[in-house]
């Protein structure tokens, strides 16, 4: 099968959906023909679809999302790009109070089919305002779906589902994933929300990981495998809805779980997954649940400081060895 990058997979999803449905349009800062997006995801799309449908906006995050909400409830399917995930803080009212609640507060009269794409994650030395992983903020908002694709295949299939679906989707990407290559079929496919993917099968311990951490977990699994420890890597792919059954099924098989997420540990993604396992699968556990996450600090700038806070293979291996 052909291999393309995560970035190309996202772009293909956008291009195919825009060709398929004229109500799909893109808006965001510098996504048009001069830049093609800060991470070049939308590069070339303005040339094909014009600057009406690939719309450069002012630096007004709250209005970018608010405009998408207004368009979504009047017949369009906007895909808004927020240049860095950290900047979603500026749009939080429109995301959490408007987009997520419009359907509910108006008694189901209308749905709000919009997608907010944004990159999270650390690792490129740009410090706290451009490096956070804030997925948990959005998991905490009923009414939103939260997607966290880790591979080009998942990125394309989930983005197509996000665009076609009738709910507001918070679509998390990761800066370090954009250049990663993976197999993506040429033919049409979509990936439903709420269906986890077992990225690697194993029998001794389950690692649940998301976004870039999936790749670190797979690397750790390879090293552990050489030492005789069989690791299963489960990637939820969407945090809301969360495929609890897939996680529980894996825990039933291995009896051990390590949860790896790049966000801060307190009240983070890993906290929620750990709570699900504790509530619904405690009896199947042969060891305590261990979480590998960032310490509760902002992301620092200097390379040794930054590398220190981001979970790495070593930390994952150490955690696995604690439970087996």
């Amino acid at each position: 099968m052909r291999k393309i990058t995560y970035k190309e997979a996202l772009r293909e999803a956008l291009r195919e959906e825009m060709r398929r449905d004229t109500t799909v349009f893109l808006l965001g800062e510098d996504i048009g023909k001069y830049w093609g997006g800060a991470f070049k995801v939308t590069e070339g799309l303005a040339e094909e679809f014009g600057d009406e449908r690939v719309r450069d906006t002012p630096i007004s995050e709250n209005a970018i999302v608010g405009t998408a909400v207004g368009a979504a409830i009047t017949g369009m399917r906007p895909v808004a790009e927020i240049m860095f995930g950290d900047l979603t803080a500026l749009a939080m009212d429109q995301i959490a109070n408007q987009a997520a609640k419009i359907r509910y507060m108006f008694g189901g009269q209308i749905s709000c089919p919009l997608v907010i794409r944004t990159p999270f994650g650390a690792g490129v030395n740009i410090a706290s305002h451009h490096s956070q992983s804030l997925e948990a903020w959005f998991m905490h908002v009923p009414g939103l779906h939260v997607a966290v694709p880790s591979t080009p295949y998942d990125a394309k299939g989930l983005l197509k589902s996000a665009i076609r679906g009738n709910n507001p989707v918070f679509f998390c990407e990761h800066k370090l994933l954009y250049p990663i290559q993976g197999e993506v079929p040429e033919e049409e496919y979509t990936i439903p929300f709420g269906v986890a993917d077992v990225k690697k099968e194993g029998t001794d311990v389950t690692i649940v990981a998301t976004l870039y951490m999936v790749h670190k977990a797979l690397k750790a699994a390879e090293i552990l495998e050489a030492e005789g420890i069989s690791v299963e890597v489960v990637d939820p792919r969407t945090l809301t809805p969360l495929d609890k059954q897939a996680i529980i099924k894996s825990v039933k098989k291995t009896g051990r779980i390590v949860i790896v997420s790049e966000d801060c540990k307190t009240a983070g993604v890993s906290a929620e997954i750990a709570a699900v396992v504790a509530e619904e699968a405690l009896d199947y556990l042969d060891a305590p649940i261990i979480r590998v996450a960032e310490p509760d600090t902002p992301i620092p700038f200097s390379p040794p400081l930054e590398q220190y806070v981001i979970p790495d293979e070593k930390a994952i291996i150490k955690a696995v060895k604690e439970v087996v």
Partner: protein
């Protein structure tokens, strides 16, 4: 006097009365403990909603505020379902999930009231963008108060509507107070409309208690927007008869000021004008008032007799 046909003027009077009598009834029901939460009455500001919405078609859009009953009714919302929503009933527009501050009726282009001050502004801009992309000739009216004009959404939203020449009419209802805070305490300008210049659009100040004056400026703005000439900011100077919400006796307002504005009551002025220009007789007006009263009573009866939603319905409508 405007060159409006008698039936149009009669219709406008009917709407203005519907809002006032509806609000009076909501006030009574609140006192009888039938309204959960709080209410933000529109009484006194009716000329704005009616003057503006009388220019709109059913497929045009509006966005509204926490003080939204008047906007709903002016756009053509069903009184029964509006009242039922305020009482938290299953038959309400939002099945009891929104209440007084969050009423919407998408079938008439009422895109919803939002209780976050200024949040409706970018949403209206988005509806305007959607109109432009779909190539229809609809327009959007975005209602907000003068307090909302200090929010970032006001700046961000109007700027976007201006650069993209969207068919959005921004209607500021300046009732002089943001809750209890006088405009002069939080702004060094007298006219919100002056802010239009910062976004390269025109701003107009109008007597918001004169329904015909509001009608006239809104008519021009709607025409311009329909032709693709972009947004306008209309500031309507008006006054709420009651406090900010039901619990607010509005002691921060000088008595003389209240008296001065009550004397400028939009309904009294409109009726006088209609009688003076012989459009309607006093008897005809009384007849309309009676009809509207009956309609309101029916709405109240419907709302009171309607069942509350089943508790477990709280879990519905989160996702499509």
């Amino acid at each position: 006097m405007l060159n409006l046909p008698k039936n149009k003027l009669t219709q406008m009077l009917r709407k203005i009365l519907e809002i006032r009598l509806f609000e009076e009834k909501v006030f009574e029901l609140y006192a009888q403990n039938l309204v959960p939460g709080t209410i933000h009455l529109y009484a006194g500001e009716e000329a704005v909603a009616v003057g503006v919405c009388s220019n709109l078609r059913k497929d045009d859009y509006i966005t509204s505020t926490h003080r939204g009953h008047g906007h709903c009714i002016a756009k053509g919302a069903d009184l029964k379902r509006t009242m039922a929503e305020i009482l938290g009933k299953k038959t309400g527009y939002c099945k009891g999930k929104g209440g007084s501050m969050h009423i919407a009726d998408f079938s008439i282009g009422m895109l919803g009231a939002t209780a976050v001050v200024g949040a409706g502004i970018p949403i209206a801009v988005g509806a305007g963008l959607s109109i432009k992309l779909r190539r229809t000739d609809q327009v959007v009216v975005c209602f907000f108060g003068e307090g909302a004009s200090n929010q970032g959404t006001f700046h961000e939203g109007i700027n976007m509507a201006s650069i993209w020449k969207l068919p959005v009419i921004f209607v500021c209802e300046n009732n002089l107070y943001a809750m209890g805070t006088r405009q002069s305490i939080v702004m060094n300008i007298e006219n919100i409309a002056d802010r239009a210049i910062a976004y390269g659009i025109s701003g107009v100040v109008v007597d918001g208690n004169d329904v015909l004056a509001v009608y006239e400026v809104a008519e021009k703005a709607v025409e311009r927007a329909r032709k693709g000439e972009g947004p306008v900011l209309i500031e309507c100077k008006t006054y709420r008869h009651k406090g900010h919400s039901r619990v607010d006796p509005a002691r921060y307002r000088p008595k003389e000021e209240v008296a001065e504005w009550l004397a400028k009551d939009p309904i009294k002025r409109f009726k006088e004008k209609l009688i003076h220009t012989k459009v309607l007789s006093e008897a005809e007006i009384q007849h309309i008032e009676k009809e509207v009263s009956v309609e309101i009573e029916e709405a109240v009866k419907f709302a009171i007799e309607s069942p509350f939603p089943m508790p477990e319905e709280a879990l519905e409508d989160v996702y499509a």
